[in-house]
């Protein structure tokens, strides 16, 4: 029956049911990924962010929350500026390659 309205889907992220396997696999190869404190320097300096909304900080968070990161990650140009500015010294360039490799 058409009521003229549907049922809104919940936007809650249910961590209990979230699959963050990709994040865990990535961290086992790149433990630095865990040390992100979401300062946003990487996104601020990112050449692709400006043009496409790519943000390695958001990618890290999205992986932990079980969200898809393919689109954002496909915009990375590997230029390495984020690696230069990261205050926690995370090797973001390798991180990107690792995520790209382990993504399924």
């Amino acid at each position: 029956m058409d009521f003229g309205f549907g049922i809104n889907r919940s936007s809650t992220i249910d961590l209990t049911k979230t699959d963050n396997g990709l994040f865990r696999r990535v961290c086992s190869e790149e433990p630095g990924a865990r040390t992100c404190m979401a300062c946003g320097s990487c996104s601020a300096t990112c050449m692709a962010s400006d043009l496409s909304g790519m943000s390695i900080r958001k990618v890290l968070l999205a992986m932990q929350r079980g969200q898809d990161i393919r689109h954002m990650l496909s915009k990375c140009m590997l230029c390495g500026k984020c690696t230069m500015v990261c205050p926690r010294g995370i090797n973001t360039r390798r991180l990107v390659l690792t995520i790209c490799r382990l993504y399924d």
Partner: protein, 603 residues
């Protein structure tokens, strides 16, 4: 000189013959496989080159100079050069002389393969001739030359610093077996020929030795065992050869023609790559060359260990070594054989499959910095320069002072040049970026593309096709402006040492341009290791896996080298080198553009 043994055969030659048959068969098969691994076009190119007279001449010359004379090693260190040429050339001449002896004295035996090698065993000296005396003298002389080389080789294992090497390769088991077999061959030959010298004759080395031996070993029964031993040593060496570093002897002889044919590495393991791997003599010069050696943890990550792991098929280590390298190119610069370590690594990186591929199709770069009107010069600063705005500001200031009509095409951001992507092994993606950038650069309508980042510069010159556009690094461009008197630079009394960025120096061969430009504004000092041997700053994008904290020791050793010049300040021409060096330097680090701009008057 007559045949001593009617049949012209003794069982002791069998080990030698077996070893020889094995090594020849093995090498032939592997060389054919390598040729088959080449792409169709490359194979054609290679085979044609083999019958092209000019190339034949080059091949012969290169093989003689590189494989026998080891000319490059002589340039590096005379002792090292002598050691290698004495063994290689000496041995080669011994073989040639052996053949001449057979031809001269027992021409009927020339079809017997082993005769030139064991000549002294099979002949008896029935009369003394001048020819015989000269030949025997030469034989003994070159044997002595080779023996001196072997002695130096032994010494090198104990005192490598005498040969200009701090570190040497840790050899694998097969390498050690090969090494000891090689060391054994010539003393055994001396022994065998000495025992036989009263029958076959000899010269200044073998005859006295024969006299000495006969004093207490006066039995001809001792003769045969030493010839057996000599033959077995040869056999062991030849059987081990394909599995040890000595494979480089046949491989290099093939590598030279293939490189002269203009073939490039396309795959990580096959074709030319395979040949380069086999050509690595494991000499270990790349260990000292590698800037990562500043940290002991990286000692096993230089090219010599890469080729070894590739031969062993240890995929985990191959990946580790490939990812760690800074791609500074110094190992290749110093390698005697010309193993292209960086290219092997990039090819290895490119062999990986990634489920996520970059896609830049929906990124719009148009209108970022491109203005409607055309300008003479388009300035492309690149990504990294954004983190060192002092460089782009100085470049702009100089352009303004010289009155150049320019536009900054990536002022408001743009696509990366693609080189970081390329050297991460993602070739196709890098091409896509390059294509988009070429479109952007061409649409700017400028006749000159001015670049301040060596990474971009190398990418533009090597991978981009920009018809009618001159790609120029500012080092050359500003030098021209100064010569044309469009810029007036006043020389300061500050003494700078110039740090060669890897991409600009070894990468593009640009060593003099930056120095020339810098000398307009300052005094120049040189570091201990400079130009082709300069030490990477450690910030290179080439390395994928080196972490921030593990790069520090590399930067420190690069700085130590620069400090050796006792200059007041450091100048470089790369934004990445500039920020990396400045992080730990105890003296100012400037980009040349900044130095020039400081010393240039407003016109």
């Amino acid at each position: 000189m007559i045949d001593r043994i009617a049949s012209g055969f003794n069982p002791f030659v069998i080990p030698f013959l077996a070893g020889m048959a094995f090594v020849l068969g093995y090498c032939l098969i592997s060389m054919i496989r390598i040729v088959l691994q080449l792409s169709h076009a490359d194979r054609k190119k290679f085979l044609i080159s083999l019958v092209t007279p000019g190339v034949i001449w080059r091949n012969c010359r290169d093989i003689f100079c590189d494989c026998l004379l080891h000319v490059k090693l002589w340039k590096r260190n005379r002792l090292l050069g002598y050691m290698h040429s004495s063994i290689a050339l000496g041995w080669f001449i011994l073989i040639v002389l052996g053949h001449i002896e057979v031809l001269l004295f027992v021409p009927g035996r020339i079809n017997l393969f082993y005769y030139p090698i064991f000549f002294n065993f099979f002949v008896a000296e029935n009369e003394s001739t001048v020819q015989g005396k000269v030949l025997f003298f030469l034989m003994d002389f070159f044997l002595l030359v080779v023996l001196s080389g072997i002695f130096l080789a032994m010494l090198k294992r104990l005192r490598s610093r005498l040969f200009g090497m701090r570190r040497t390769t840790r050899h694998s088991l097969t390498n050690q077996v090969g090494l000891y077999a090689l060391w054994a061959i010539f003393p055994l030959r001396l022994l065998a020929e000495s025992f036989t010298a009263h029958i076959s004759g000899g010269s200044f080395l073998t005859v006295p030795a024969n006299w000495v031996f006969r004093q207490f070993l006066g039995n001809d029964l001792n003769m045969l065992p030493t010839w057996w031993a000599y033959s077995i040593a040869l056999c062991v060496f030849m059987v081990v050869l394909p599995f040890s570093r000595y494979m480089h002897i046949p491989a290099e002889m093939m590598l030279i023609p293939m490189r002269n044919a203009g073939i490039r590495i396309t795959s990580a393991r096959r074709g030319l790559a395979r040949l380069e791997v086999l050509s690595c003599p494991n000499c270990g010069i790349c260990i000292d060359a590698c800037p990562m050696s500043a940290d002991r943890a990286n000692l096993k990550d230089c090219t010599v260990y890469l080729t070894r792991q590739i031969r062993r098929g240890n995929e985990k280590r191959i990946d580790e070594i490939s990812d760690k390298c800074l791609l500074c190119g110094k190992c290749q610069e110093l390698c005697q054989v010309g193993v292209e370590g960086p290219k092997l690594r990039v090819a290895q990186r490119a062999s990986r499959k990634y489920p996520i591929s970059p896609d830049f199709s929906d990124i719009d770069v148009k209108g970022s910095g491109i203005s409607a009107e055309k300008h003479e010069v388009a300035y492309y600063s690149g990504c990294m320069t954004r983190l060192t705005p002092s460089i782009s500001r100085s470049v702009e200031s100089l352009l303004r002072k010289a009155g150049v009509d320019y536009t900054w095409i990536d002022r408001d951001g743009g696509l990366c040049c693609g080189r970081p992507m390329l050297i991460a092994g993602r070739t196709e993606e890098a091409r896509e970026m390059a294509a988009r950038n070429m479109e952007l650069i061409i649409s700017s309508g400028a006749g000159t593309l001015l670049v301040s980042c060596p990474i971009c510069y190398r990418m533009f010159t090597e991978e981009y096709t920009l018809p009618g556009i001159r790609v120029v690094h500012y080092a050359e461009f500003f030098d021209e402006l100064i010569r044309q008197k469009r810029l007036t630079v006043e020389k300061s009394d500050v003494c700078y040492v110039y740090h060669d960025p890897c991409e600009l120096g070894r990468g593009c061969g640009m060593y003099d341009g930056p120095r020339r430009l810098l000398s307009h504004a300052a005094f120049l000092a040189e570091a201990d290791r400079t130009r082709g041997e300069s030490v990477c700053c450690g910030g290179s994008l080439g390395s994928i896996s080196l972490d921030f904290e593990h790069r520090k020791s590399i930067t420190m050793s690069s700085l130590e080298n620069l400090y050796s010049s006792r200059a007041d300040a450091i100048a470089t021409a790369c934004p990445l080198c500039r920020s990396t060096l400045a992080r730990y330097s105890d003296r100012p680090v400037r980009d040349i553009a900044e130095v020039i701009d400081n010393q240039t008057k407003e016109s």
